[in-house]
Symmetry: C2
Subunit: 194 residues, 2 copies
DNA sequence: TGACCTCTCGGACAAATGTCCTATAGATAT
DNA sequence: ATATCTATAGGACATTTGTCCGAGAGGTCA
């Protein structure tokens, strides 16, 4: 749900790295700011310093599907860098967010010269593949009740912080279905605990 | 649907690479052979030389969800290597398959010493992230008809080569729904073309 | 041959999910 | 104050999808 990467963030925040690469830009965004926009082209790779963003893909049907929410340490824009393609999803801030911004050439030279950074990026990519595989399998083989229930258990606070629309878009369902399920879960809980 | 990676396969098959690393094992598997098994631990990374495998994840519900079919050049087992975890999915041959097998330590030293190999692996990971993101978004926001129709258009031959069960597991639907949809598509086609 | 698999196919029904609509509350602008 | 916009909420209905069956075709083994 909220992906983060403490190891990567710590590494690039520490003196040896940060001192050596003074040219790394840090940028701050207000809530609802568009950092990268689907269909346009970015020429930078980002790592979140603090805050939260949502990463989503707009379908031809007009529906947004939220891939992940990104928290501290998450890397993004790297897929476009490696595949040398235009952005295939959008990244928009949910709360106020600060990022490290690596221009493509800088990112490339970091990968080539800093072996540990190189490995941390590989690990970040691998964990995304794993996370996505597990989530897709789960989503395809469980009903909405299961999905909502699991989300409520794992991130109880999230339902207060996010719009219903975002939660529905993350789960790949309609708001109507989300509401119906939430009602049902409440009813069941009341009955079984009374 | 069928993921492949010609660039990677070509690189590791060429003389400079293959001569230098004579210790790379090549193994051949019969159809339906289990190369890596969910829940157990593998200590190798693989690249497919020829043939086809399916990569799937078995859910707690007992349902298999097929992540991808792997063709020539596809890399697998690398996610477990980077995340240092047990296998999170199974890879089973569909047809007779031959693979290059890199023991973990060898793979690690290849990443460290061969810059081009290192970059090709990164690209392979990035393209998996991208592919998975697009597929999940599509699956969540389209109905079964759309999914089946697209699959038939993109891989018309596949319906003859694979079991119905595998196709259903790839699409995340039941065989019954798949059959119903295929019938409907046939009927529509006959009506509209007569 | 007969028993036993596995794969395929589709009817009948039930359950899950989406679509369409109306209503309310709060925020904002004119 | 009024209009307007957005988010929330849920009723009524239609559609989509899954579940549960039984049946047939072909393969294998004793």
């Amino acid at each position: 749900m909220i992906q983060s990467n403490a190891t990567l963030l710590e590494y690039i925040s520490k003196p040896p790295f940060l001192k050596k690469w003074r040219t790394i830009t840090q940028t701050r965004y207000e809530p609802s700011a568009v950092i990268i926009d689907q269909q346009s082209r970015s020429n930078s790779v980002y790592i979140i310093k603090r805050g939260m963003t949502k990463c989503f893909l707009t379908e031809d049907t007009g529906i947004d599907f939220i891939q992940e929410f990104f928290g501290a340490g998450e890397l993004f824009g790297e897929v476009e860098f490696f595949t040398q393609s235009t952005n295939f999803c959008s990244v928009v801030t949910v709360s106020e967010t600060e990022v490290f911004k690596f221009e493509n050439n800088l990112f490339k030279s970091l990968l080539d010269t800093d072996r540990q950074f190189n490995f941390l990026v590989m690990q970040a990519l691998a964990s995304k593949v794993k996370y996505k595989a597990i989530r897709h399998a789960y989503n395809q083989s469980h009903r909405i009740d299961d999905k909502v229930l699991r989300l409520k258990k794992e991130y109880p606070l999230l339902f207060d912080k996010l719009l219903k629309k975002d939660i529905a878009n993350y789960l790949g369902i309609t708001i109507r279905s989300l509401n119906r399920t939430l009602n049902m879960l409440d009813t069941n809980y009341t009955i079984s605990s009374s």
